[in-house]
Subunit: 272 residues, 2 copies
């Protein structure tokens, strides 16, 4: 019997933090990762453009016979998930819903903060997801456009990163939230700094872990999990291989990035 | 008699600083600007990908009957100019050569600094252009990946910008350069801060002005200038209209951005 893979995509390398969690909790599963490195970042692009890109990537992965699609990109999860869910017959998991669920589970005061790219925050997707689960919660949001370039530059604990984080997080800190959702897959790299600034009283929610748990739950329920005696293979595709990709990718994946293949999406005409 | 337009393109809004200089020195000329906002930034992408994108945009502009093409993007000028010059029959002007020429004219000590995106600096295009003009010059370069997001965030004179600029510019300052090329169209927005850090003894070279002068020279020589009694029209095309585009665009163009049209490059198959 052959088993299908789990498909995962992101606008770039950030989604590798989600892949890492899936590899850890489901080591028996084959995975196919697609990073749209030729068109990164999605956070500054319009919803229509991001939805079109997501459709092209879904089409690419579907052709490689996946059993479940993880949209490991907050911006794409925020704007393209309804379209993908409507047009695909396999389960589609975003990172917003799991992150929101985790935040609602963890909060005591009901005052929840969310940080992300301009696109994710403007979409209000986390706010809507949290309010749907806990209507009486209070959600405070803040776009942090400099966090992604800081993480990619490797400036995660210097004075520039500290001042930037203090500036971005000031209002959330003053508002006395007790839970903060890291609504961008790059942000786990800044987690120690964000934690230091917010203080130990604030729980940081990293969507990656909860997304991996959701994937395991769905595959278990649908009897699609490979036997746990198996050992998964991992394939990596990107739309461009820029200098430094492997270095940054390994930083995100804890040094376990395999061979990466560059492919063109020119033939993909959207969701099949 | 109808006159053709000047075509100008950049990966995004940055090239508007070049357009602004052209509008100022040649107010009689029609212009067509293309900003590849769906695929910005180019600085982190591979030379092959940037060259392909430049070809698609050139094809789009050539179909609109331009008489000269300005590559108002340092990354594209650095990696795609030879291909464009070989494949097009109209004059093609990049921003590297004019910036390099200006630097060589201005330097007294022959110690010239160049800052830009990772892609521009890695290409060594400025170093090669400067050395070609003045073989005995000493060229020191530094990639400044955070300057573009800082300029777009509007953080051009706060403490984060100051610390970032101090970090990036320290070596160049210690090396006692007397001329610094701002090798990215976004950097003029940070000019006051960079000038403050480098000190009054260092001349800052902004390629935009010199590029406009080169364009005027070529059109004059080829008798392609419109009569100076005319008044040019300006058209703006982008591959995506993200939120904030008009605000950022007006900041770059001094408040004179006209109607912006979104177009798809899907039909463009490279240079015709």
């Amino acid at each position: 019997m052959t088993w299908k893979s789990i498909g995962i995509f992101d606008s770039g390398v950030g989604g590798l933090t989600v892949l890492r969690e899936i590899m850890q909790s489901l080591p028996q599963e084959d995975t196919i990762y697609f990073g749209d490195t030729a068109r990164v970042p999605y956070g500054t692009k319009s919803p229509e453009t991001v939805t079109r890109y997501a459709g092209e990537i879904a089409s690419f992965l579907i052709k490689r016979d996946i059993k479940l699609l993880v949209v490991a990109c907050n911006t794409a999860s925020a704007v393209a998930l309804p379209t993908l869910k409507r047009q695909l017959t396999i389960p589609v998991v975003g990172v917003i819903e799991p992150g929101a669920r985790r935040a609602v589970e963890m909060t005591r005061s009901g005052r929840i903060g969310v940080i992300g790219t301009a696109g994710t925050i403007r979409s209000s997707a986390y706010t809507r997801a949290i309010k749907r689960l806990k209507p009486d919660s209070e959600v405070l949001t803040r776009a942090c456009p400099l966090f992604v370039p800081l993480a990619e530059e490797g400036w995660t604990d210097n004075q520039v990163a500290r001042l930037t984080a203090q500036t971005y997080l000031k209002e959330l800190k003053d508002a006395a939230i007790d839970t903060l959702v890291l609504g961008c897959t790059h942000y786990p790299l800044l987690k120690p700094l964000i934690s230091e600034i917010m203080g130990s009283g604030v729980i940081l929610v990293d969507s990656a872990e909860e997304t991996a748990r959701t994937v395991a739950g769905i595959l278990g329920e649908k009897k699609l999990l490979r036997p746990s005696t198996e050992r998964g293979n991992h394939n990596y595709f990107v739309s461009d291989i820029p200098a430094g990709f492997v270095r940054v990718g390994n930083r995100f994946l804890g040094g376990r990035l395999g061979d990466v293949f560059q492919v063109s999406l020119d033939d993909e005409t959207g969701i099949i």
